[in-house]
């Protein structure tokens, strides 16, 4: 009787224990917000601060040196030149500009890492949320090295905010197509607060604060994204359709029928010194 009772108790206890441990792991998974799906930028235009018009009206807190660089680039663009936008020759936007999400964005949340993929120029971020510290040495990339922390602000057992810090960028990078420049020293630090809208679970906010030596103070903007109910994933291949050809320090155009063309009036042709002269 005692034996039966003990064994039944043991079985019941084991069942209860396994139930208790298993849901703990499952509950851990359920603590994360649902960020699945395809996110498209909510702002029609792609200037860095979506709340202000483009160009000088962005009122970027640039140092006098970088304000002059920006003004010179705008003048160059108005004159018909390509300007300093690295995307022209298929370089990625890097951080923080990639969060403009020129093409749809996907967010994949796992306990250890949150992945952000934007199809435009194949941009891809790993945000480590496994509690690691900054590595002793970071090999710089356009998208940088990101460490994040999930926060349960309401104390209800569910995370509702992802705080991220990103460092270790390389350049050249700008903040938008007008050539709003980041400092050439690439010491940019980007802090983000990523969260779903409290009233609309299909609206995502990213509050982005950029600290950079081209700025007189940190600059905060908020970008929003809408979840697409029926996503079709594109494959954006810059090099497939790009008709800008860099040769040396010059850019040329490729015509529709495959001939090299000048990109601006009176542009000299490329130096062909390495070819055998035709007879």
């Amino acid at each position: 009787m005692v034996s039966n009772r003990s064994s039944l108790a043991a079985v019941a206890l084991a069942a209860t224990m396994s139930m208790a441990l298993a849901p703990a792991r499952a509950a851990d998974e359920l603590r994360y917000p649902d960020l699945n799906g395809q996110w498209s930028r909510a702002h029609a235009h792609s200037q860095w601060d979506p709340s202000k018009p483009r160009g000088l009206a962005q009122q970027a807190p640039l140092t006098p040196e970088y304000q002059a660089i920006f003004a010179a680039n705008l003048a160059s663009l108005h004159a018909g030149n390509l300007g300093s936008d690295p995307q022209v020759y298929c370089l990625p936007s890097g951080m923080p500009r990639m969060m403009i999400a020129y093409e749809p964005m996907e967010v994949i949340v796992t306990p250890e890492t949150t992945y952000i993929r934007v199809d435009h120029l194949n941009e891809f971020r790993r945000i480590y949320t496994d509690g690691r510290g900054w590595p002793a040495e970071i090999k710089p990339t356009f998208d940088g090295y990101s460490i994040g922390r999930w926060i349960d602000r309401h104390g209800n057992g569910r995370y509702d905010l992802l705080e991220v810090e990103t460092r270790g960028m390389k350049g050249p990078r700008t903040l938008d197509a007008d050539g709003l420049a980041l400092h050439k020293d690439n010491r940019t630090v980007v802090k983000e607060r990523i969260q779903l809208d409290s009233a609309n679970r299909d609206l995502l906010h990213d509050e982005i604060t950029t600290t950079d030596d081209a700025f007189t103070r940190p600059w905060t903007v908020t970008r929003d994204y809408n979840r697409e109910p029926h996503p079709v994933w594109p494959e954006f291949l810059c090099t497939e359709a790009n008709n800008h050809i860099p040769i040396g320090k010059e850019f040329y155009f490729r015509s529709g029928d495959g001939y090299l063309m000048p990109a601006y009036k009176d542009q000299p042709p490329p130096d062909l010194r390495n070819f055998t002269p035709s007879r």
Partner: protein, 279 residues
Amino acid sequence: MRYPSLIVLIALAAASAMPPPAARALDDLSKYPDLKGQWQRIGPNRWESRENKAPLTPEYRAVYQDNLDRMEAGGVGDMASWYCLPQGMPMMMSLYDPMEVVVTPQVTYVLISHVNDSYRRIYTDGRDWPAEGEYERTFAGYSIGRWLDENGDGRYNVLEVETRDFKGPRVYDGTGLPLHHDNQTIVKERIHLDKSDPNILYDDLTVIDNALTRPWSITKKAGRVPNPKPMWQTAVCAENNSMVRIGKDAYYMSQEGYLMPLKKDQPPPDLRFFKPSPK
């Protein structure tokens, strides 16, 4: 008898009180193999071997031989990734750079940063093939997968995948071993861990293609890097690519930024759109 009954009742009550989503999440997560970490290729990246030649049709054997002849003469051959286009399927599974596999119940993501970031979504949510307008043809194709529990032990051990809806040009490897230009390729895969070594991953690939006389099977092998926090690189093809394509011809860019011929006596590009330089 009352005590065991009470304990059993408590256990059953505890079990039934578990919220269904948690139970579902637990079931989902515990059934999948651990594919975390960084995977690197083991073995050659070429597809043909002495024992396993591609069963090319006579037409495509001639296409291949023509490509080999052009490469022998100094050309770059038919590998589109020279011009920063993605390798696509199935070439990307040769893992020219490390791979990450992210398993979620709905989608398994295959992430490889080579040329640019290559990205596969293998849908395991039970969906059927999309109708026209619900997908775009891509180099990586559209993949539908199914997890199998072949040992009947309650855990998945094989991911069966079928991939269709490609675009091109695509080849198998750097020798330019061709796939048919109609892009009707179908790739079937069985992805699984080694039974005795969970740090070895196999991808058994079978390619069905109109350039082949029969389906062609090959196994690719990868090893898990021991470092649990591996460094991930970001390949940006446009950053350092020294190949320039103008019209149908390829040229080389010297370190000094001068256009150079790729092969002996290659004529320079046609400069008809430039003003003649004053004599």
